[in-house]
């Protein structure tokens, strides 16, 4: 999919010069790497490896990782296993509701390249085309040791300031939206206004917009609050 040449590399212009500010940033990055709330979206068989990773045998909490149940509170979206087209919609809705910095971990071979569902008409094969994935943990299924080692890799990335895949979703939204529209049809729309968020948080780049976002703008229904009513 991506070769090294066509990954956009942008110079970071807002580097801080004040040494104290750098220390502060590093402290925050350290805290972010040591406290990860995990939303496990258990789509496939890989989910069965998570209970041992969380409970007494391998105990994720000693690394500061604990399960959370709503996307609003979570930092990590853990996609464990194959993602069917129908499930992928939910995964994307969930991902867009999470608050940045947010990280996606794809567990099992199915999220890497489709795995044993390669020939299936109903599965999304490469998760990376629809969401920016931080870490893949390959295996069918990866054992808890592998899961923990993948999480440790993510922690190291965050601590070094390299866990920035979530910015990619804003900066190359057109690419991700294009792939989503390819699967779900042109009238695909999520309740989260990604472009609006990108503008508000000043994360937009050239590739935020493109022909796919134009298609979205044509079909987009304005979001309205649902009326509260009780029906009998």
């Amino acid at each position: 999919m991506n070769t090294l040449n066509n990954i956009p590399v942008q110079a970071d212009n807002n580097k801080r010069t004040n040494p104290l500010a750098t220390v502060f940033d590093e402290f925050i990055q350290f805290c972010q790497s040591r406290s990860l709330f995990m939303l496990h979206y258990c789509t496939g068989c890989g989910a069965i490896e998570l209970p041992p990773a969380m409970t007494s045998r391998f105990d994720m909490e000693r690394l500061g990782i604990q399960p959370m149940v709503t996307p609003r509170q979570a930092d990590i979206l853990l996609v464990t296993g194959y993602v069917s087209v129908k499930t992928l919609k939910r995964v994307i809705l969930t991902y867009e509701q999470m608050q940045s910095p947010k990280y996606v971990i794809g567990i099992c071979s199915c999220t890497v390249n489709g795995g044993m569902y390669w020939q299936s008409y109903a599965t999304a094969k490469v998760l990376n085309e629809y969401l920016p994935v931080d870490v893949y943990i390959a295996g069918c299924m990866p054992r808890p040791e592998a899961v923990i080692s993948g999480l440790r890799r993510l922690m190291a990335n965050i601590e070094q300031g390299k866990g920035n895949a979530w910015q990619d979703y804003y900066q190359r939204y057109d690419y991700y939206l294009g792939n989503q529209q390819h699967l779900f049809g042109d009238d695909w729309q999520t309740p989260t206004d990604v472009i609006g968020e990108a503008k508000y948080y000043e994360l937009e780049a050239e590739q935020t917009y493109g022909k796919h976002t134009d298609i979205l703008a044509q079909h987009q229904q304005p979001l309205e609050a649902q009326t509260m009513q009780i029906k009998f």
Partner: protein
């Protein structure tokens, strides 16, 4: 002139107290959160989080890059929830610091302890998430359930000491005997109500992560969740100090005081992981039956 200097010294003492009492409460509360997580880990034969985990969590939550706010009331609600506890801390005397505990007694305090739940209800109301609404309605019902025995206990204790001042109660207990020996029934009922007040199992139906996705907290992200984490540490501290002041004679010095409050808070925390949870109506039934009955018998002995 002399009286002016005197009142100025008084004022500065109170100001220092007002600054340091919530700060101490916050840090002791963080330790209590750590203790809770360590206890649960040990009971489940895990290692548990590292020492600074509560701080990591709070710093991380406040440093989120994007924040979803559902409006002004959402933000104010969290401030009210944390502020209610900060206001309670300065009414709770600790060794060496009385704050304004002599101005407002235990009745003011029991009003203040309701403010956080109401603040949460305000904030959650604007999120318009059905899970949040269910959660907060359950939380307020739970408050109704544990507040009845709690108020009866407070009434009984105040009757026994013939005073509503926490400072007076602590002085009396240190001169004579601890409240837990003079009114054991009220102390037992108080411990029961404490379990509900801290929102520990079996009385944590309003959180119910697997069914209503943490209820009131469902829409809280980033700084809002951080505010709630801060609130939780205050909540544990308040519950521990209140029980210690009412029944365990406060503290002459900090080590003794800290030992007592950590011991008090560890009891509900330890029991919590042995129980599943009651449904809301069952919780009301249990709370209004057993602790209320025990507390009323306790009052009969005190009268």
């Amino acid at each position: 002139m002399n009286s002016l200097t005197h009142s100025l010294t008084d004022l500065s003492t109170v100001l220092v107290d007002l600054l340091f009492m919530p700060l101490i409460a916050f840090f002791v509360g963080l330790l209590m959160v750590l203790m809770m997580r360590k206890l649960s880990a040990r009971l489940q034969r895990r290692i548990g989080p590292p020492f600074f985990q509560p701080i990591y969590d709070i710093v991380k939550l406040y440093s989120k890059s994007t924040q979803v706010s559902h409006g002004l009331i959402h933000e104010i609600g969290i401030v009210v929830a944390v502020g209610g506890y900060i206001a309670s801390e300065i009414l709770l005397p600790v060794p060496g610091m009385d704050g304004i505990a002599d101005k407002g007694g235990i009745i003011t305090l029991s009003y203040f302890l309701m403010i956080p739940s109401l603040g949460m209800a305000l904030g959650v109301g604007q999120c318009a998430n059905p899970n949040g609404s269910i959660g907060i309605s359950r939380a307020l019902t739970a408050m109704l359930a544990y507040d009845i025995p709690f108020i009866i206990v407070v009434f009984g204790v105040a009757t026994h000491y013939q005073s509503t001042s926490l400072i007076g109660m602590i002085d009396y207990q240190q001169a004579h005997q601890w409240g837990i020996f003079e009114m054991p029934l009220l102390a037992a009922a108080g411990l029961f109500a404490l379990q509900g007040m801290m929102g520990k199992q079996p009385f944590e139906i309003y959180v119910a992560p697997a069914e209503i996705a943490t209820g009131p907290m469902v829409e809280m992200s980033g700084k809002f969740m951080g505010g709630l984490f801060v609130m939780q540490s205050f909540q544990f501290y308040t519950a521990g100090v209140l029980y210690t002041s009412l029944f365990l004679g406060g503290g002459n010095n900090w080590p003794e005081f800290l030992l007592k409050i950590f011991l008090v808070v560890s009891i509900p925390m330890t029991m919590a992981f042995l129980f599943p949870r009651y449904r809301t109506e069952d919780m009301v039934r249990v709370m209004w039956k057993w602790p209320v009955m025990v507390a009323l018998i306790g009052i009969a002995f005190v009268m």
